[in-house]
């Protein structure tokens, strides 16, 4: 099946739920305004099922209804895993065979972001979801710089460690902080190192759009629920097999 519609309780019913606030006090006109927005979003019919004024000038709405839009699953763009998922053993073997030295990884939370749980999950021994982190891979040398690392410090450390890959985490997204910081990262590496000696740049965090790698100047983005094995497998694919 390639064309689908949202499903409430019957195939094809197209039902969705929507909520939002408008900066206007509650009255009939506000309800009409809410329905106008729902209509613009393609809901028809739209049922306004809840409205509640907050403070003087805001009203919160809940709308249920049918959307006309069709979803074509064949048109979906995703970053599919385009490399095989390897076991730790296979990863180590591939590095040994391919590089004849340990693969050097440097990781950090850059900017003012201090959310290390995500990058720690990827790098530290402890790992996540039952998978151990990259530190547990015999053939990797991992430097985890922790949080609130500035981009120049990171470039310096990467240079020193002759990093094959630099992994940065960005969790705070307010005012697009993650996008600004990632762009700053890629610009700094482009400036500091010639193309051939530049490490692979990998960004990760729960609110990234994985399709934006190119736009942000990094090689790959990993989103919500990433596991260390996926990252290790990608490193083999991109660094060892040189397919980046």
């Amino acid at each position: 099946m390639t064309i689908v519609r949202p499903y409430g309780d019957t195939t094809g019913d197209g039902m969705v739920q929507l909520s939002f606030t408008l900066p206007i006090p509650y009255d009939k006109r506000a309800e009409g305004a809410a329905l106008q927005l729902a209509a613009k979003m393609g809901m028809d019919p739209a049922m306004l099922v809840h409205s509640r004024q907050m403070g003087d000038g805001f009203t919160f709405f809940v709308v249920y209804g049918r959307v006309r839009h069709l979803v074509d699953t064949e048109q979906v763009q995703v970053v599919e895993r385009d490399f095989p998922l390897l076991s730790a053993k296979e990863v180590n073997a591939a590095i040994k065979r391919g590089l004849r030295r340990r693969l050097s990884v440097v990781g950090a939370c850059i900017g003012t972001d201090a959310h290390t749980v995500g990058i720690d999950a990827i790098l530290n021994l402890k790992g996540i979801a039952g998978e151990k982190g990259l530190e547990s891979y015999r053939e990797m040398a991992v430097l985890n710089m922790g949080s609130q690392v500035s981009v120049p410090e990171l470039v310096e450390a990467a240079r020193e460690a002759r990093a094959d890959a630099v992994l940065v985490s960005q969790v705070v997204t307010q005012r697009d902080a993650h996008l600004h910081n990632t762009r700053a990262l890629s610009a700094a590496f482009r400036e500091a190192l010639p193309a051939g000696r530049r490490p692979l740049l990998i960004a990760g965090g729960p609110r990234f759009d994985e399709l934006m790698a190119g736009e942000l100047g990094v090689d790959r983005i990993f989103g919500r629920g990433t596991t260390p094995r996926e990252v290790a497998s990608y490193l083999v694919h991109a660094v060892v097999e040189g397919t980046r």
Binding site: G8, M15, M47, L48, V49, H50, Y64
Partner: protein, 514 residues
């Protein structure tokens, strides 16, 4: 669980005594009357199947023909089994009768007709017995839910073929009991539709074929899950007795069946209801079916705090009528609900008091705990929260069957995702706080005990008044759910008759003998 409220056993005994006194005249009424639906139910048990080309079941055509010839007061069994001698097959007899080809009489010497009737009834009841034994066997094989309360979910697409996958999905996601809600119009139909149906409004028609299809599907899923998933429908409305028979024949496991719901909320005549009620409960008793009573409904029209004692009164009456009809305590899914306005101060503690009162008054009954509906709004975020507190109250007071509330209660009949969100809610509450009842000890003489004692006291006062003034008058006065329903009004009264001296009903006879 018992003992948290410090109820005085003498007071509780008094309440039961009063309920019996208030209920007995209605039982006497029920024992001395019959209805078209009771008679049709007998014929269904005796094996009449199918419907005419307009969809009117042959049982209806047959009963109508008998009534036209000899009236309802003798029951249809003697005329029918008397006539059967000339036809052999009972469905064929019905068809001929519908065509006007049969003349019925009340046989003066009724020995032979009685014998045949009892034989047919016995065969029918034996089928019911086999389904009951089969249920016991399957429960043994696949097992009961591992937790209490059982999780009860509603399916309501209107189309049996959409209902089935949704019910199966719900069972896989954790439902222990599936209820297929009926189409809005069905309870006032004076016949049961036939066959598989796809066109209900806000519910699916209850038909014997739909029962069969859903039970078979759930058997499949039960096997897959290693847990017997129960199926529920409604023995309610004008065809209550027939629904009970169909449920027995198709191994349904529970039936909504309340002594007053049809009167109050469907404006069905009170006498019709009480007569149908008693017969349907006798059949449920035989079939091993758990009934669910409908006290929750009163709280949607009356105020749940003010009218709390009317719930207790109705529960005691429902219990009395159920016992009288032969149902055992483990078959009494006595209903009550979490319907207090959430803005009322201490509303949660009031709910706990009410729920605990029901628990302690009926320690051996599988109480059915109903979620908030009236004070659910389109604010679905708040709705899911309220449902969580409902689930918690259920766990803290040891309820037995938990009808899972939906955040979209005020919006739509449940969506697939609503059910999933609701089940996650239940799972969280039972997993995280399912044993909190161990730490829940209402203070002696504290708010909760005082409230429970007050409600029980008010219930006793009301029962006292009802016992003196009759239950029928109380119903006429709007005592329950503030609906006024005089005994001489309401739908279906023309299908009621007082027994003639020679009234005969082989099924009642067998059921009351056993």
């Amino acid at each position: 669980m018992a003992g948290k409220l410090d109820l005085d056993p003498r007071v509780v005994r008094k309440a039961r005594r009063l309920a019996a006194r208030a209920g007995q005249p209605v039982v006497d009424l029920a024992r001395s009357h019959t209805t078209v639906s009771v008679e049709r139910a007998v014929l269904r048990l005796a094996g009449v199947r199918g419907a005419d080309p307009d969809g009117i079941p042959w049982v209806n055509r047959l009963v109508d023909a008998v009534v036209a010839d000899v009236g309802l007061e003798h029951g249809v069994s003697l005329p029918v089994f008397d006539a059967l001698r000339d036809y052999g097959d009972i469905t064929v007899l019905a068809q001929k009768a519908a065509a006007g080809a049969v003349r019925f009489r009340v046989p003066s010497s009724s020995h032979a007709a009685r014998r045949t009737a009892v034989k047919f009834a016995r065969v029918g009841l034996a089928r019911v017995d086999r389904r009951r034994a089969e249920r016991d066997r399957l429960i043994k094989r696949w097992g009961d839910p591992s937790q209490r309360p059982w999780i009860y979910l509603i399916v309501a697409t209107g189309d049996i073929h959409e209902d089935i996958p949704q019910a199966q999905a719900a069972a896989r996601a954790g439902a222990d009991v599936i209820a297929v809600i009926r189409s809005t119009g069905q309870s006032l139909l004076d016949y049961v539709p036939e066959g598989a149906t796809r066109e209900g409004f806000a519910g699916t028609y209850a038909t014997q074929e739909n029962f069969r299809l859903m039970r078979a599907a759930l058997d499949e899923t039960s096997k897959e899950l290693g847990r017997y998933v129960r199926l529920t429908n409604y023995a309610s409305g004008l065809c209550m007795p027939e629904m009970a028979v169909m449920a027995g024949l198709e191994r349904l496991d529970m039936m909504l069946n309340d002594s007053m719901y049809g009167i109050l909320f469907r404006d069905i005549n009170p006498i019709r209801t009480f007569v149908d009620q008693r017969f349907s409960r006798q059949v449920h008793a035989r079939a091993g079916i758990i009934i669910n009573t409908g006290e929750d409904n009163y709280l949607t029209t009356a105020d749940p705090v003010e009218a709390a004692h009317t719930v207790t009164v109705s529960q005691l009456l429902n219990e009395f009528f159920a016992h009288e009809a032969g149902l055992a305590d483990p078959q009494l899914g006595i209903g009550h609900a979490f319907e207090i306005n959430p803005d009322v101060p201490e509303s949660f503690r009031l709910e706990l008091a009410h729920a605990l009162l029901a628990r302690e008054l009926f320690p051996d009954a599988p109480l059915k705990w109903m979620p908030p509906t009236k004070h659910m709004t389109g604010d679905v975020f708040r709705g899911n929260l309220l449902d969580g507190f409902f689930n918690l109250a259920g766990a803290m007071t040891g309820q037995s069957i938990l009808l899972v509330g939906m955040m979209t209660e005020a919006v739509v009949t449940p969506w697939l995702s609503d059910r999933d969100i609701a089940l996650q809610n239940v799972r969280y509450v039972l997993g995280a706080a399912g044993n909190l009842h161990e730490d829940f000890v209402p203070a002696r003489g504290g708010f909760i005990q005082r409230r429970a004692h007050q409600v029980l006291g008010e219930a006793i006062d009301l029962l006292d008044r009802i016992a003196d003034d009759t239950l029928l008058n109380a119903i006429a006065d709007g005592t329950f759910g503030i609906m006024r329903r005089p005994a001489d009004r309401g739908k279906g009264l023309d299908g009621v008759a007082a027994h003639a001296g020679d009234y005969f009903n082989p099924v009642t006879e067998l059921l009351e003998a056993s």
